[in-house]
């Protein structure tokens, strides 16, 4: 008999059975926001009903999450701080032995709510969106005055000792300010870290895509700047999507191709997204969906359909998990691609937005497309 006590949980394996319940639940507690950012993934989705649930519905749901052993709740929106009952919602999460994090534009954070979050001792982080080093850049897509209010919100959180981080969404109007943004966030504001992604072909961004989303040149520039910043600030700039994530992933793929290496387990198939194995999302109207970016895929309704039943038996969710069994060789889109053995097909939500199917590689993060469009990899840095 051996008693194992492991300090780290294993990553989800391709053939692993699902967890009994999700480890994390992302909850869009409101469909309201005081800003209208031009690349917002949340608004302008014709599949979504933008309405809020009353307090009692969320309180009951958080009781259920606690009984299911959920460990973390991410409060998103809309803008979570717009809800006057936010403290009450947070208290119910804490009372049910869970932690929480909040995704925010920062502009509605007050001393009172920051003090409350700090007192709980359970706030993993408040992530504030900051898209530039100055108002001119940040406000270009988020609206006049939003930079000043976001920075004010961050300083309030810092004053109260609430863990705070930032998210930089990269687009054509801030890509040249990335260096300044990093200096501002990490040195001037003293944040421990920030994460990056890029404006994606979702929600409001779809109507602004042509002039907002990174073109090949800007994408390449962003990769070069971010990798250089990574060397200057090791471990303090993160990304699970967008140019920085692509630079690392594509660098590894290119090295593997040049070395004629065999693909690793999970590569050469639609395995990129592990979210359906660990987390679930609830829209502001109480609809379960696999992910905020797959908001059209309705799996059930909170307080009517038990979470555990939705998680374990939803046909749509299990079909999404089964996406991993699709070999990239099955897609005409990938025919003849020398990166195929090392590719994982990327984000299913962007695949859906661009092709109409989640069971398809995402053209957005396709290395071959990037190279065909004139892009080149910053090879000496890639994958470092």
């Amino acid at each position: 008999m051996t008693l194992a006590l492991r300090k780290h949980l294993p990553p989800p394996a391709m053939t692993a059975p699902i967890m009994r319940t999700p480890r994390t639940v992302d909850v869009e507690i409101t469909a309201r926001c005081n800003l209208r950012c031009r690349y917002c993934y949340f608004f302008d989705n014709p599949s979504v009903q933008y309405r809020d649930l009353p307090t009692d519905e969320w309180l009951a749901f958080f009781e259920e999450l606690g009984s299911c052993g959920v460990m973390e709740v991410t409060l998103a929106g809309g803008e979570p701080f717009i809800r006057k009952d936010l403290a009450q919602l947070v208290d119910r999460i804490v009372a049910n032995r869970m932690r929480f994090s909040i995704l925010s534009n920062g502009s509605l954070i007050t001393d009172q709510i920051a003090a409350h979050l700090a007192r709980t001792g359970r706030c993993s982080a408040v992530q504030v969106s900051v898209d530039g080093s100055c108002a001119e850049v940040h406000d270009s897509c988020r609206g006049t005055g939003s930079f000043q209010r976001a920075v004010h919100g961050i300083r309030i959180l810092q004053t109260h000792g609430v863990p705070v981080t930032a998210r930089v969404t990269i687009h054509r109007f801030n890509v040249h300010d990335l260096h300044g943004t990093a200096v501002f966030l990490l040195e001037e504001l003293g944040l421990p870290s920030f994460s990056t992604n890029a404006a994606g072909y979702l929600g409001s961004c779809r109507t602004n895509a042509a002039w907002l989303m990174l073109g090949t040149e800007e994408r390449q520039l962003a990769m070069e700047i971010l990798l250089a910043l990574h060397r200057r600030y090791p471990g303090r700039i993160t990304a699970s999507a967008g140019p920085m994530a692509e630079a690392r992933l594509w660098g590894r793929m290119e090295r593997a191709r040049l070395e004629r290496a065999a693909g690793s387990p999970g590569e050469g198939a639609l395995t990129a997204c592990g979210c359906p194995f660990t987390r679930l999302t609830v829209r502001a109207d109480g609809t379960y969906v696999p992910c905020t970016m797959l908001a059209h895929m309705r799996l059930g309704t909170i307080n009517r359909d038990p979470l555990i039943k939705v998680w374990q038996t939803s046909e749509d969710l299990n079909r999404l998990r089964g996406r991993r069994s699709f070999s990239l060789k099955e897609f005409d889109f990938c025919a003849g691609c020398s990166y195929l053995p090392y590719c994982t097909g990327n984000c299913p939500a962007l695949a859906y937005a661009m092709t109409g199917s989640v069971d398809h590689p995402s053209p957005d993060a396709c290395l071959r497309n990037f190279l065909r469009n004139g892009g080149s990899l910053p090879l000496p840095l890639a994958g470092s």
């Binding site: 194992a4 967890m19 319940t21 052993g69 932690r99 001792g121 359970r122």
Partner: protein, 99 residues
């Protein structure tokens, strides 16, 4: 100081036991964000922690529940509970000093 084997470990009431399909589980302390994976016997031990059973009594109960328990089991179980205590998942009652 008393021998810990003779004391009854008390589970931290905030700790969540997330049981999985394969009988493994995760113990999660929301106050510290620490999570540890435990195997099925670890889960059995956790469920026996009630603030009344001593470590020795837990060892005997495991011996009663399972076949072919090896000789090293008492040390393994004691070590496991020690690790849980170090991580804040269990504690021991402290005797109050006389006023």
């Amino acid at each position: 100081m008393q021998n810990l084997r003779l004391q009854a470990p008390v589970p931290n009431p905030l700790v969540v036991l997330r049981e999985e399909f394969d009988d493994w589980a995760v113990l999660f302390n929301p106050d510290t964000a620490r999570a540890v994976g435990v195997n099925p016997i670890g889960v059995s031990v956790w469920k026996l922690l009630d603030g009344r059973r001593t470590v020795d009594q837990i060892v005997r109960e495991i011996d009663r529940q399972y076949d072919s328990v090896p000789e090293c089991a008492p040390d393994d179980i004691g070590g496991f509970i020690d690790q849980l205590a170090t991580g804040g998942f269990v504690g021991y009652e402290v005797e109050r000093a006389a006023p």
